[in-house]
Amino acid sequence: MPSLKNIRRRIASVKSTRQITRAMKLVAAAKLRRAQERLVQLRPYAARIAQMIAELASGTDATAHPLLAQRPPKRTLLLLLTSDRGLAGAFNSNVNKAALNWILEHKDQRDHIELRVVGKKGRDFFKARKFEIGHVYTDVLNQVTLERATGIGREVVAAYVDGNFDEVYVVCNVFKSAIAQNARIDRLLPLTPEDHDHNASTLDDTLFEPTKKHVLDAILPMDIHVQLYRYLLESVASEMGARMTSMDAATKNANDLMSRLTLQYNRARQSIITTELTEITSGAEALKG
């Protein structure tokens, strides 16, 4: 049986671990709430852009704009969104596995699949499997801004317009609840406008300034940026949700462990007292005799 001192030391260490996991859980909860608020704020803007593109695209030839034109998918860009830090349950392994499966499934039908990764966890996963990574963005998920999303978006759009890629996919976590995050693979480019009833168009009598193409040129990249921004915010929400749940479990485990150790400690102490008492009484008995 471990000595009393050893048990005491273990109880103290479990206690400090519990303090850390509890603090991490609270921080994750606050960050989750903030990410959700930003998702809500984004909604009217995203909806407006999506609707406008649907209306604009329904009246034009889909091949008229490079970001809308469907090309035979030969060269693909896969953008993987992971976090820089672990301790977030299955958050990173979910998307890493989804991306790996997608690559293995589709690499025979494509000439080339390039992987670009947001976050150190995705980078480490694919580096360990000897994959070539086109570009790594770090420090993104801990400080998501529209500017950052726009920067990544510009690079992706430029590579796509230059013809380096025929399609762009995003692999990311989508927030369902604090205990459920789903890995999802969405096509970012070419854009697929929502279905729109052409008869309901409000743009029939519209003056386009300077031209309809200019307006499309302005709106389509905005849509890419806003979609990326949304994916990043969804990822933050998922990461924080996953961290919250796993840190909650860790705190509970620490509590269990502590009560077990305390029990063990009390038993050990009791048995020492019992031994001492037996020794005293048997000593007294011996003196009497």
């Binding site: 704020q41 009217p44 407006r48 300034e209 300077p210």
Partner: protein, 136 residues
């Protein structure tokens, strides 16, 4: 007429206005009540909203578009919208210097993505300084 400015961080302005001046892709656009239905691309610049019985509102606007419907509803959808209260002039000045230095360092190819990005930074910083100076 009713003016609404929608950004990714929420609705920045919503209310009545006598007129709007917006930075169109090819030049300034003046929008008054009764304007015909229009969709116009915007570039980085100052947007001025004439609020009745108040000083006109000067706002920094980034890329986006303006949609005028029924001659009385104006919606500006933009990636960024800031009033002078949101702007730190000192930061904007540093940004301006950085972008100017970066631009002069890129001499050869002015069509690159990098050049465009720095040019955009410079436009944004200069617009911010203009709005910060207007204080209205």
């Amino acid at each position: 007429m009713k003016v609404e400015i929608v950004t990714p961080v929420g609705v920045k302005f919503s209310g009545e206005a006598a007129g709007v001046r917006a930075p169109g892709a090819l030049g300034e656009l003046g929008i008054l009540p009764g304007h015909r239905t229009m969709m116009a691309a915007l570039r980085t610049g100052v947007c001025i909203v004439a609020v009745p019985e108040k000083d006109p509102l000067h706002l920094v606007i980034d890329a986006g578009y303006v949609h005028v419907t029924d001659g009385k509803n104006v919606t500006i959808t933009t990636e960024l919208c800031e009033g002078w209260q949101d702007i730190d002039a000192a930061v904007a000045r540093v940004d301006q210097e950085k972008a100017t230095a970066a631009l002069s360092a890129i001499k050869d190819d002015i069509s690159t993505l990098l050049w465009q990005a720095r040019r955009h930074d410079l436009d944004l910083a200069e617009t911010r300084l203009r709005v910060a100076a207007s204080k209205s």
